[in-house]
């Protein structure tokens, strides 16, 4: 190495490298912030549309509701005439590899319209199959008043993923929690069919 390892040289060198690197990062962060936020917002909106009935044309801004000590984000949706047609609630039950973030959509009568995984870190090839249609299809049109939201092993009506009981259980629990949150929202001073 050409440069001597004196105290002054080392300090100046590390200082210069850190300054250059951090300003470079700050610049790129500023440039990419808008597209990153836009991508996240577009993804969230697409997920809301996916879990709600097609008649939902206006999606209200996100609100939060407190339920049993935790806070949940949800969006209400209206049709062209302004009637409430559905509600999308975010829940994040803990699976095998951390929280599974799920958006659960309800129609106005409280029947589950559809569910969608926003993010998960389950084992690839096993628990990660919870994003696939073969598992998530069964929640379409699931009426919590008629069927039980628990895996069959626990006496419920949800088909578990092969060899991934923990993930399936967490998913079913998450959807069951969303049902309770939905009922809490429906009873708040601002009723669904406002």
């Amino acid at each position: 190495m050409a440069v001597q390892s004196s105290f002054k040289n080392m300090t100046v060198c590390l200082f210069a490298i850190c300054i250059v690197c951090s300003s470079l990062l700050a610049g790129v962060y500023a440039l990419t912030k808008a597209p990153i936020d836009a991508a996240a917002a577009a993804k969230n909106e697409a997920a809301i549309k996916e879990v709600l009935p097609e008649t939902a044309v206006t999606i209200e801004e996100e609100r939060t509701v407190d339920f049993e000590g935790a806070s949940y984000a949800y969006n209400l949706a209206y049709d062209e005439a302004g009637n409430t047609v559905g509600c999308a609630i975010n829940v994040a039950p803990v699976g095998f590899g951390g929280p599974i973030s799920i958006k659960v959509g309800f129609d106005a009568s409280g029947v589950i319209w559809n569910t969608k995984v926003l993010s998960q870190a389950e084992t690839p090839g096993l628990g990660a199959k919870c994003v696939e249609a073969s598992f998530s299809e069964q929640f379409k049109g699931f009426d919590p008043a008629q069927k039980k939201l628990a895996v069959k092993k626990d006496g419920g009506d949800v088909d578990a993923i092969t060899a991934s009981t923990i993930t399936s259980r967490a998913y079913a629990d998450g959807v069951a929690l969303a049902v309770k949150v939905f009922q809490a929202i429906a009873q708040t001073p601002m009723p669904l069919n406002e």
Binding site: M1, A2, V3, Q4, S5, S6, N9, M10, C13, L14, I17, C18, C21, L24, L25, V28, Y29, T32, P35, I36, A39, A40, K43, S119, A121, T123, P124, G125, L126, T162, A163
Partner: protein, 193 residues
Amino acid sequence: MGKFQLITKGLIKENPTFVLLLGMCPTLATTTSAINGMSMGLATLFVLVLSNMAISLIAPYIPDKVRIPSYIVVIATFVTLLQFVMQAYVPDIYETLGLFIPLIVVNCIVLGRAEAFANKNGVVDSALDGIGIGLGFTLSLTVLGLVREILGSGSMFGWKFIEGDGILAFVLAPGAFLALGYLIVIFRKLTTK
């Protein structure tokens, strides 16, 4: 050493996965399918080429005793840049690789090449070395991912050829060690003749 050999040596003689046994953490963790392995390899290739070039340029001005922290800062900068850009323009791929992108910082292949090659050689040679080692890593990860995907999920690059599940253990951690072990044996057998 010719320019061409700089690239080919990373594929066989100094293959980072099967010969140098470097970067085992991402190798074992990301190769649950061929596509995942390939994406991880390509992301590492990108960081490796850029960091090799940058380090070969600044190496003469860095005092010996602080070279490792300096290299790490440079590598971490490139990884974070890659993360921002991927998150902004290819959010789907970013989601699949998620956790493993930041792990490139501590991938010893990248620091290893900076120490062993880039700080002693010119920009062009360092870039070629990065391409060679990066391609070797990408190919190894793709092959390992493919083997695990065929045995574990019964599919190739996402295309299913059997119904239902394969031997699930191959998708999980033990299968990664087994598959890697046998691939190293085969690789040694083929290359030492």
